[in-house]
């Protein structure tokens, strides 16, 4: 059996284990064992990948395998990983692992909660290991549906509204996606659903590509918080329980960027070159607009959700720049944003669990009451605004350097278009500082205003563990970015060569 299948097999076994678990401790046991196994597996995969590459294996995809499961439409369960998917799998494992600890004390219906949580992660893992369009789409749907229940049942605030909105908008995206996938399948000669094979054939008429490119790009873009399809994100994040926010912002939103690159741009290269400027405008808007919106929000999770719009906008922005450096930066930004946002949502969840409010006007002086969480929050904030030594800085810098030097493409309105867009996107670093420091100054510093808060306690061991793990990862990526960029860059280069821009 292919080792990659373990990434769906282990969650499947976890589902089974959760099903038979009889009390909370057993549930926790299953979760910890499963998520640790997955973490070990993905670390091993990274190690394996790097050693294969240094041994001189230059195949585009490693660990390739394929089993047909619906012959008439040539749908197969094909798996394979390149540098990009390897790091995305690692990210998912870290988030699932820490997410387990962040929802350690979740009540009620712990078992059911973790069942859906695990199902969601199955979808995510499946999406990243597959190379078959239809199977990817299937896993994508598997990841989306549990979201509805997780928010609708365990959420807070206007949870039914948010859950419904999120699901409907993402399903709308899926509708566009399936059209696009079928379009690619038929116009590439309906012989295969395998992404790499379709890309190698390169036989879709450019006019047809221009028709289907927007379908797929917007379909995935909805999940990647592309302006103006991002509005599910603030409501969805605000209502979701902690670990779900973590998983959603940390991993699920990355499916969007990954899909845009792996399916839309890779399979429709001519359209990507012709139309990228339109989407570049939209993503540039996302970057600045998200940051500016975050400045005036009063709910901690809204601030973070808009911040995610801005940061994920930067991911799509960099992907569309189609230079190797920018794309490497985009993947680094996915990793970095995934870890930082997970950290942020974890901390917000922990603060909310104590104060029962996320309104920044009601919070003050938390540094005195819960120093650990407050220090964690400051670190998360500084990482988010791009402090060197943390992942955000290196990702943003790679993106800016790559985008500034991106080659102008035929479709661009002007040769300096990409440069100007980069300069506009650079503005976000200032605005980010504004909204982060506003929150830090307001809720953490100052004197405690609400006397009831004085009785609150600092983080428990499981919370500390989750926070420390995430901070460690954020700092690790920030200090040793070369470990990851060496994996990502060649993979990005392969795809860009296939697109024909390198």
């Amino acid at each position: 059996m292919n080792i990659l299948s373990l990434f769906v097999l282990i969650p499947a076994l976890m589902l089974l284990g959760l099903w038979v678990a009889r009390n909370v401790n057993q549930v926790r046991g299953v979760m910890v064992t499963g998520s640790s196994l997955l973490l070990v597996l993905s670390i091993w995969l990274c190690y394996f990948f790097v050693s294969e590459r240094s041994a001189g294996n230059t195949d585009e995809m490693l660990l390739v395998a394929s089993t047909p499961w619906f012959e008439p439409l040539n749908i197969a369960y094909s798996v394979g990983v390149d540098g990009i998917s390897v790091v995305m799998l690692l990210l998912s494992s870290i988030i699932v692992f820490t997410g387990t600890f962040a929802s350690w004390q979740l009540k009620p219906m712990t078992k059911e909660y973790f069942l859906w949580f695990t199902l969601l992660s199955t979808g995510v893992y499946g999406f990243f290991i597959c190379t078959d369009m239809f199977t990817m789409f299937m896993f994508y749907e598997v990841a989306l549906i549990p979201m509805y229940l997780l928010i609708g049942v365990w959420g807070s605030g206007r949870k039914e509204y948010s859950a419904m909105k999120l699901t409907l908008m993402l399903m709308g995206g899926s509708a566009l996606l399936i059209l696009g996938i079928l379009g690619i399948y038929y116009f590439s000669g309906h012989t295969t659903m395998n992404v790499n094979e379709i890309a190698a054939m390169h036989n879709i008429d450019p006019d047809i590509q221009n028709v289907f490119f927007p379908f797929i790009f917007i379909g995935f873009g909805v999940l990647g918080a592309l302006f103006p399809f991002h509005t599910w994100s603030p409501d969805g994040h605000a209502s979701a329980p902690t670990a779900v926010s973590m998983l959603h912002a940390g991993v699920l939103m990355k499916l969007g960027g990954y899909g845009c690159f792996r399916i839309a741009m890779y399979l429709l290269p001519d359209a990507a070159q012709d139309l990228s400027w339109i989407f570049l405008i939209l993503t540039t808007i996302s970057v600045v607009y998200g940051a500016l919106s975050a400045c005036v929000q009063t709910d901690l999770k809204y601030i973070n959700a808009y911040s995610s719009v801005s940061h994920c906008g930067l991911v799509l922005f960099a992907l569309l720049m189609m230079s190797q450096t920018a794309v490497t930066g985009a993947i680094l930004q996915m990793l970095s944003h995934g870890l930082m946002t997970a950290l942020f949502f974890a901390l917000i969840g922990m603060i909310y669990g104590r104060t029962h409010t996320r309104d920044i006007r009601e919070l003050a002086g938390l540094m005195k009451i819960m120093p650990f969480l407050a220090v964690g929050y400051v670190i998360a904030g500084l990482a988010n605004l791009g402090l060197p030594g943390f992942s955000g800085f290196i990702a943003e810098m790679t993106i800016f350097v790559g985008s500034f030097g991106a080659k102008p493409l035929a479709g661009d309105p002007d040769t300096s278009f990409r440069m100007v867009a980069t300069i506009i996107a650079c503005m976000s670093i200032v605005v980010t500082a504004v909204y982060i420091l506003r929150v830090v100054g307001k809720i953490l510093y100052g004197e405690v205003e609400n006397k009831h808060y004085l009785e609150l306690t600092d983080a428990t061991w499981d919370e500390r563990f989750a926070v420390v793990c995430l901070i460690f990862c954020v700092a690790g990526l920030g200090v040793c970015p070369f470990l990851f960029s060496d994996m990502i860059s060649p993979a990005a280069g392969n795809i860009l060569r296939s697109i024909g821009v390198m």
Partner: protein, 662 residues
């Protein structure tokens, strides 16, 4: 190689930051302080050793070599790469000495000043972080590394200004400092991107002959010619953008607004970060890019000059009207940094064979010299101010007066530093300021005389401050509960050390300057990297000394007495002017208006509204439309057979009619 240990200069403070940051809370105050101070003492020793080795090493053709003991690629990015390393050349070695000296003094001083403060360990951790970042900034081998440490010093400054985090003004000040400098950094970043893109390199290899250490990757030569070919405006544009970043960090008008507020931080921090080291980062940046400025953008340097002149004048004018002693010192710092900027800017293009011409670029040497002397005496002034604040528990001049009896050491050291900043011969400020004015005079007499005037203002407001604190009426009421007393030895010792440097450097350079001896500052740092002997221009030296003494006399006449009738009359005659100067000519209000009214109210709020009501509203409308559509369609599916029959009949008739018509 003798520079093999230079990596420890960065590593030691980093380690002490990590140790104090992670385990500090469990430590005794004393242990934490000792860890920080010991690691810094080692760094200081290493820096001195490096400086000694560097300046005594053999020179090639009389030029100090640029030495790169370490340089490795941190992150490759296509044809560009982010490097990390250590670069030793005269200015970075000089900065090593300045930073480690002042930082060590501040570490020692803080033992006394921060005694018993909550968060003592955190304070020392941040000091270590700051020192590490600042050293990394000056040792950077490429513009990108510089930017990275530039951001780190910004953050450490943010953390230290906000040290007293329960206090509202401290929070606001730290936020302001970070955001204003971040705003400027955005330009810096765009400048770096432009530079990197057009020259295919981030490295400082344009600066001259470079000797590589063992185990270092060679630089890729910066392809400046390519950039020039792409358009003559590119290098100047990139440099000016970087200068905006430097102007933010170095508090140049109109980006200076954060610095006076930054005085909310602990006073030793103001001495270290906001007087001696971090705020000169902008000056250092221009000095680092100097070969490019002078070769490719000599016209653009006039921007630097005029920004400097305006800032120097503005800050000096405001300093004359402030009542908070730390604010006076802050504005004085802004004004003095502007002197350095002007000095760098007034350098004239010119060659002397293959190397730069030391005489035409006298300003370069003068600016660096002033950076060095200013760091010492301004740190001494700030630390002295700390002692005073410690004694009277206030920053307001009104609560001081007559302190010379109680605090003799602080008094003497403060006086010496005031004389140095005023530019009196035999004090270090004289030599450096005189060179600046000489350079200005050669650039343009207008600038020269303006700067002389501002130097006179400097002497005036510094002595206004001095008399206000140490002379005049003692405020018995404020001292009723608590007689002011001299600070403990940990606090006075740094004052004495800094003063000894000020006087020692002052005496030697003054005599050397008049007598034409070598071994003065110019022998170490000069535009060409060669030995440059400073000769004072006697006329200029005499003029500026006379003017400085006259303004000190004026300040003595107005402010020394028990009551100050002239000062009071001046306030009454020009109340508006005084008020405007006291309010810093409303710069803060203008920025406040721009950020709060325009950006928050007119940009962010409408965007947030637009998002919730228009973008989200559209989707809600779609959902509502689908819902309503479903509702109205539902009534068709009523289950009522008679209704179905009617529709069936109507349909059949309509269809038949249509078919018949066709």
């Amino acid at each position: 190689m003798i520079y093999e240990l230079s990596y420890l200069i960065l590593l030691l403070p980093l380690l002490s930051f990590l140790v104090l940051g992670l385990a500090g809370m469990k430590m005794q105050h004393k242990t934490a302080g000792l860890i920080g101070t010991c690691s810094l003492s080692l760094v200081t020793l290493l820096s001195y050793w490096t400086a000694f080795a560097y300046f005594t090493a053999d020179r090639v053709n009389g030029i100090y070599q640029t030495i790169v003991p370490y340089n490795f690629t941190w992150l490759p990015l296509g044809n560009l790469h982010f490097d990390m390393g250590i670069l030793l050349d005269p200015i970075s070695v000089m900065m090593l000495v300045v930073i480690s000296t002042v930082s060590l003094m501040v570490h020692i001083y803080s033992f006394g000043y921060m005694h018993g403060e909550k968060g003592f360990q955190r304070y020392y951790a941040f000091l270590s972080l700051f020192t590490m970042s600042m050293l990394g900034l000056v040792l950077a081998t490429n513009i990108f590394q510089m930017y990275m440490f530039w951001e780190l010093v910004g953050v450490s400054s943010y953390l230290l200004i906000g040290f007293y985090y329960p206090l509202k003004p401290a929070i606001a000040a730290s936020k302001k400092a970070f955001i204003v400098t971040r705003f400027a950094d955005m330009f810096f970043l765009v400048g770096i991107l432009t530079f990197g893109y057009f020259t295919d390199s981030f490295s400082f290899s344009f600066a001259g002959d470079i000797v590589m250490g063992q185990g270092t990757t060679p630089f890729i030569e910066g392809n400046i010619a390519k950039a020039v070919a792409a358009g003559g405006f590119i290098i100047p544009t990139a440099l000016v953008l970087m200068f905006i970043g430097g102007a933010g960090k170095s508090a140049m008008f109109p980006l200076h607004i954060w610095l006076p507020d930054a005085m909310e931080g602990p006073t030793p921090v103001s001495a270290l970060i906001h007087a001696a080291t971090m705020v000169v980062a902008g000056v250092f940046q221009i000095a680092r890019m100097f070969p490019l400025w002078i070769e490719y953008a000599p016209q653009a340097m006039s921007i630097v000059v005029w920004v400097g002149v305006i800032t120097a004048f503005y800050a000096a004018a405001v300093a004359c009207a402030q009542s908070d002693i730390k604010r006076v010192l802050a504005f004085s710092t802004i004004s003095q940094i502007a002197f350095m900027m002007v000095a760098l800017g007034v350098s004239l293009p010119g060659h002397h064979g293959a190397v730069l011409d030391n005489h035409a670029q006298l300003g370069y040497m003068a600016g660096m010299f002033h950076l060095f002397t200013h760091a010492m005496f301004k740190a001494c002034l700030f630390l002295g101010a700390g002692c005073i604040i410690h004694a009277v528990h206030s920053n307001e001049m009104a609560l001081m007066g007559g302190l010379r009896k109680y605090m003799p050491i602080t008094h003497i050291t403060f006086l010496i530093s005031c004389l140095a900043i005023a530019g009196i011969p035999f004090f270090s400020g004289f030599s450096s300021k005189d060179e600046i004015i000489t350079a200005c005079m050669e650039y343009s007499p207008v600038v020269g005389w303006i700067m002389t005037g501002i130097a006179a203002m400097t002497a005036f407001y510094m002595f206004r401050l001095y008399y206000g604190i140490f002379w005049g009426t003692e405020n018995k009421e404020a001292h009723a509960h608590h007689t002011p007393h001299e600070a403990p030895l940990t606090m006075t010792l740094p004052l004495i050390v800094l003063c000894v440097i000020t006087v020692g450097v002052g005496v030697y350079t003054t005599i050397a300057g008049f007598a034409g001896w070598g071994g003065s500052f110019g022998s170490f740092v000069s535009a060409a990297g060669t030995d440059y002997t400073i000769h004072f221009n006697t006329q200029i030296a005499a003029t500026s000394t006379v003017i400085a003494i006259l303004s000190i006399c004026l300040a003595t006449y107005i402010y020394k007495g028990e009551s100050q009738p002239i000062a009071d009359r001046l306030y009454k005659t020009f109340p508006k002017l005084h008020r405007a100067a006291y309010k810093r000519f409303y710069q803060d209000e203008i920025w406040q208006y721009v950020t709060h009214r325009i950006i928050f109210r007119c940009v962010s709020t409408p965007i947030a509204w637009f998002d919730r009501h228009v973008v989200d509203g559209t989707f809600n409308f779609l959902a509502w439309g689908a819902n309503e559509g479903g509702e109205s369609l539902r009534s068709w599916q009523s289950g009522d057979v008679r209704k179905y029959a009617v529709w069936f009949l109507t349909g059949t008739v309509a269809l038949t009619l249509i078919l018949l018509c066709i």
